[in-house]
Structures are given as structure tokens and as C-alpha cells.
Amino acid sequence: MEERIGELYVELGTLKQKIQELIEENQRLEQETERLRAAAKDLPLAQGSEGLDNLNRIYQEGFHICNVKYGSLRTEGECLFCLSFLHK
């Protein structure tokens, strides 16, 4: 009987340790997903606005960014196609 209690006690000890390990791992994984999710959320956003900023800058520098006249020099005023694209 005493032996049995001792075995159960040890088992309980290892279970406790296991639970702790699992909790710790879970927390770590949760943090990891959180971090990745945040990074994933930031990533396309950052890229998108950067792309649009780039196009905006290219347009301001005097080049067409629309599909009709892409890349050619803008010599005479604002382009309807480019504006509709930039303010979409």
C-alpha cells in the first residue's frame, strides 16, 4: 500500500512536470503564432502602401503610371487614367 502511494506520488510528480512543460510550450507557441500573425498582418500592408507610394512618386516625377501610357513622360498636365488609378 505504502509502495503504491509512493509510485502514485512519483507519477503525479511527473504528470505535474509534464503539464507544466505543456503549458509552457503552449504559451510559447501562442506567442509565436501571435508574433507571426502580427508580422503577416504588417507585411502585405507595408508592401501595398509602399507600392502605391512608389507609383505616386513616379507619377509626381512626371511619368505615366496608368496601363494606357505606362512609363512614358507626362508632358501635358494630369492624366485621367493615372488619377483614377491613384485615387482608387
Partner: protein, 375 residues
């Protein structure tokens, strides 16, 4: 070939086709006008391979056409038109002799012109398509005048030199744009039974067509193939090549909402902008500024070397924000010229967005103009 005809009738035929004579071409035959006499008809044709015009007359009491020997000849357009124009208004007889030497006789005058074999003249495109619609001359003319001017003049992007004509489920639409302004106009037909089609016709050709269209309700037959279009105006056939390619999607660039809407008389702002444009220079895209405060529209323009001008016009109605904008006066004047002397609605979306002009009553289409940004 030998025939005689009254000078005014022949001159008229030559003037009708003369716009399709090639100006700069290595092919000499294209600089000529083809004359074909057959039984009691005379046909004149000019074709520069892009635009072709053919006019036919049948003999009647006024033109006194009399064909004694059928035949055909190509004569140099420049000299033929000048010669016929300067002949007295009398009976002219034309006959072809050896080596295509053609004699033109009228009273005591006798000209000899070197002609070219009619076989060398290019054939006009053939039309056997079922794509055709009938339009009233007046309507077609109005459509051409209210849209084609907005097309581009630069051959860099050929597609924008054309006018996009669409026939979709009974709605006919003309749209032209050069990327800085856009003009579009639509109308609906009740008895729509033809299938849908779309074509890009060179705007220059349409302007020439507009010169030939009578200002009445004569019915014009329009036919299309994949590569050409044909307009039949009575006995005059007007052929034009189509522009290949896909027209850019213009529905996206027409704003659907507005921040400010102004109702004002066309004449009053047109003359104000016209005056303001006197000071605006070519170099600055004819830039004229507009400041809207309440119902008051102030047009101004200034140039360091020349001076400045400012003029206020009272709008009859205004809804929305006050703002400032600058635009190319030439484009706005072109657009305003489309409207009769009535009230128009101008819709703005702030100083860096395109604005639209539409007539209050009656639909004569929409004009869209991009602003000049004030930096």
C-alpha cells in the same frame, strides 16, 4: 473614255472626294482621283488606303452628263481640281487618248493632263457584312461634333486617336479621350434588333465625314467589318479603316460622386474663361484658376511677364464645399462648345480630381476634364 458634263456638277464631285486624296505617299496613283464613266453614270473615287470616298451621279437635266464611250482614268488630284475649278461654268468634255493622255475641253479652253492607268488604283474594301445600323444624319453629326475633338492628335498611341463606338443592347455610345479630357455621348434606340458591336474609328476620318453629312434627317447607312467601316450618304460612299486594338476602359475614370455641384449658364462661363485664357500661356497648359466661394465663381489667370485677369460669375445654384481648382482653358472651352446656350451642371471632387460637365436638360453627353495641379 469620253464624256461631257456641266462644270459645277463635276467640281462638286471632285470636292466631295478630295479629302481622301493621299498627300504624302510614294505611290503616285494614290495622289490621283479615279474617274469612271459607265452608261449614264459618272463615279469619282479617292482612296489613301485609310480613308476612301466615292461619289456617283446619274445623268439628269442639271448635270447634263453624257457618256459616249465608257471607260476609266486616274488623273492627278491637285491639277484636276484646280483646272476644273477655274473653268467657266459651262459644259466640260473629257476624253482619254493614247498613253493615258487626257484632254479636258470647255469652250475655247483645252487642257491635256497625263493620266495613270485605272487598273493601278487600289480597290475599295468590300462590304458583305450583316453588321449595319441606320442613323439620322443630324444625330450622327451631333455625336461626331460632341466627342471626336477630345481624341488624341499624337500617333504615339494610335488607339487614342480613334473614337470608340459601341452598340450594346440598343444603346449607341461614342467616346473619345486623349488621357487629359474625355467626351462621351449615348443614345438609345427602341427598335434594337441588331447584335452588339464595337469599333474604333480614326477621329480624323469622322471629322471629314461630318463635313459631308447634311444637316437634316437623311438616313445614313453604317456598315462594319472587322477592319473597315462604311457610311452611305445617298450616292456618296465613305470608307474608313478601323484602328486595331483594345480601347482602354473608360468607365472607371468617370467619377460617380461629387463634392460640389454647380449649376451655371454655359455662355457666361465660356466667355469668362475665354477672357482669362488671354493671359494664360501655352507653356503653362493655358492654366486658368477657378475659385468657388458660395455661389460666386472667380476665374483668374496671371503671368509674370504679361499681367493678370480676374472675373466673377454668379452661379445659379451650388451645393457642396468651396474649393479652388486650375484647369486647361482650351480643354474646358472645347467641352463647353458642345452645349447649346443653356445651363450646365459642373461636378467637382476637390482641386486634384477631374470634373464633369453635363447639360441640365436634354442629354448631350458628358465632358470630363482633368485639372492642372497647383504646386
Amino acid at each position: 473614255m469620253r464624256f461631257s458634263i456641266q462644270q459645277p456638277a463635276l467640281l462638286h464631285m471632285l470636292q466631295v472626294v478630295s479629302k481622301a486624296v493621299a498627300v504624302r505617299t510614294p505611290k503616285q496613283v494614290l495622289t490621283g482621283i479615279l474617274l469612271e464613266a459607265d452608261d449614264n453614270t459618272l463615279t469619282t473615287t479617292a482612296y489613301d488606303l485609310e480613308l476612301g470616298i466615292q461619289d456617283t451621279i446619274h445623268s439628269d437635266d442639271t448635270n447634263q452628263l453624257d457618256v459616249s464611250t465608257p471607260g476609266s482614268i486616274v488623273l492627278p488630284a491637285r491639277y484636276l481640281s484646280e483646272v476644273i475649278r477655274k473653268l467657266p461654268s459651262d459644259n466640260v468634255s473629257i476624253s482619254v487618248n493614247n498613253n493615258y493622255m487626257t484632254s479636258i475641253q470647255c469652250g475655247q479652253v483645252e487642257f491635256h493632263l497625263h493620266g495613270i492607268d485605272a487598273e493601278e488604283f487600289p480597290k475599295l474594301p468590300e462590304f458583305q457584312s450583316d453588321t449595319q445600323i441606320q442613323l439620322q444624319s443630324e444625330l450622327l453629326n451631333d455625336f461626331i461634333r460632341s466627342t471626336t475633338f477630345a481624341a488624341s492628335n499624337s500617333e504615339v498611341r494610335p488607339i487614342l486617336t480613334g473614337t470608340h463606338i459601341q452598340y450594346t443592347d440598343g444603346t449607341l455610345n461614342f467616346t473619345a479621350t486623349d488621357g487629359l479630357r474625355l467626351a462621351t455621348r449615348s443614345t438609345t434606340f427602341d427598335d434594337a434588333d441588331t447584335h452588339n458591336w464595337t469599333a474604333i474609328i480614326p477621329s480624323k476620318s469622322l471629322s471629314e465625314l461630318s463635313r459631308l453629312l447634311p444637316d437634316n434627317d437623311t438616313v445614313i447607312d453604317v456598315q462594319l467589318t472587322d477592319s473597315h467601316s462604311l457610311f452611305v450618304i445617298g450616292e456618296t460612299y465613305f470608307y474608313t479603316r478601323l484602328i486595331d486594338g483594345t480601347y482602354p476602359d473608360t468607365s472607371r475614370i468617370i467619377p460617380k460622386v461629387q463634392r460640389t455641384e454647380i449649376r451655371v449658364n454655359v455662355k457666361s462661363i465660356a466667355s469668362a474663361i475665354d477672357r482669362a485664357a488671354l493671359i494664360a500661356r501655352d507653356r503653362d497648359n493655358h492654366m486658368v484658376r477657378l475659385e468657388v466661394q458660395g455661389q460666386k465663381m472667380t476665374f483668374s489667370s496671371s503671368s509674370p511677364e504679361i499681367g493678370n485677369v480676374s472675373e466673377s460669375v454668379e452661379a445659379s445654384q451650388k451645393e457642396g464645399d468651396d474649393f479652388q481648382i486650375a484647369f486647361n482653358a482650351k480643354y474646358v472651352l472645347d467641352a463647353l462648345a458642345v452645349f447649346d446656350n443653356t445651363d450646365v451642371l459642373i461636378r467637382f471632387n476637390g482641386s486634384n480630381q477631374p470634373f464633369t460637365i453635363q447639360q441640365v436638360d436634354g442629354d448631350v453627353g458628358l465632358q470630363l476634364i482633368s485639372p492642372v495641379l497647383m504646386r
